[in-house]
Amino acid sequence: MRKPKTDLDYIEIYAEKLKKDNRLFEQHRIFIESQLKASLSLFHNMFSESDFKKEARKYLKERLLIK
């Protein structure tokens, strides 16, 4: 097997391993959930609960993410 060099090579190797061994899904779960927790805590800290929607919409409008 040739030596992996690019991101795509590593993606291929990981997908091959995952296809044969579902235990790798545990790492996948940990990664997905830790990223979700990080996003959640960031925005919880940014906006107050009482005015969450108003503050969130202001933030989104300023970044042109909503009209």
Binding site: F43, F52, I66
Partner: protein, 200 residues
């Protein structure tokens, strides 16, 4: 015990893994949506749910929904703890849907994860094709519909083409290499290219 990453039972792809918080978020949303409209889960979540390890904050869901059903759907989402980025009532949100603009839903007091709710119609050829040719996929007790894997790969390679899309496509090509069909690739490529050149 070691198991393969996925197995096929009948026409359904079974992914042999536990549910994540992201799956449960989508499951709650689809349980409501299914009462009012057909749907298709597309794009990044297709790759992520089948093992691609990358971050995401939104899940794209296609829908073909009528106005009255949208009102009921919106109200039930509100009652069950979701909010819409674009507005607090169904009229306001529906003004986006009727222009075929996407809207986003998240759990109340949260921004992420969110659902990008994408309205489609029959004139959107490629999207309508995938919508009407769904592939069933199941993780534990959560079954949902995605595009044919061949369609998803080509759409990422031909239309989306960002680095993450090319990587997602490579993941899908490798993970599902044993079940991909050359014939399906041909059919899907024709639809995608026709739709692309019509729009150009």
């Amino acid at each position: 015990m070691t198991k393969k990453g996925y197995t096929i039972i009948g026409e359904t792809i079974i992914i042999n893994r536990e549910l994540t918080e992201l799956d449960l978020f989508l499951k709650d949303f689809l349980e409501i949506l299914k009462k009012y409209s057909d749907y298709l889960v597309v794009s990044g979540f297709v790759s992520i749910s089948t093992g691609r390890t990358r971050g995401t904050e939104d899940i794209d869901v296609l829908s073909l929904i009528e106005k009255e059903n949208f009102r009921l759907f919106f109200e039930e989402l509100d009652n069950k703890g979701f909010w819409c980025y674009q507005g607090d009532n169904s009229e306001e949100a529906y003004s986006y849907i009727k222009r075929f603009d996407s809207i986003r839903f998240a759990r109340k007091n949260e921004m992420f994860p969110n659902i990008e709710f994408i309205p489609i119609n029959k004139n959107r050829k490629a999207k309508y094709y995938e919508f009407t040719h769904p592939q069933k996929i199941k993780i534990k007790n959560f079954e949902f519909k995605i595009p044919p894997i061949e369609f998803e790969i080509l759409y990422k390679e031909i239309i989306l083409t960002a680095k993450k899309d090319i990587e997602d496509a490579r993941h899908l090509r490798t993970f599902f290499s044993e079940i991909l069909s050359k014939e399906k690739f041909k059919d899907c490529e024709k639809i995608i290219r026709e739709d692309f050149y019509e729009k150009a």
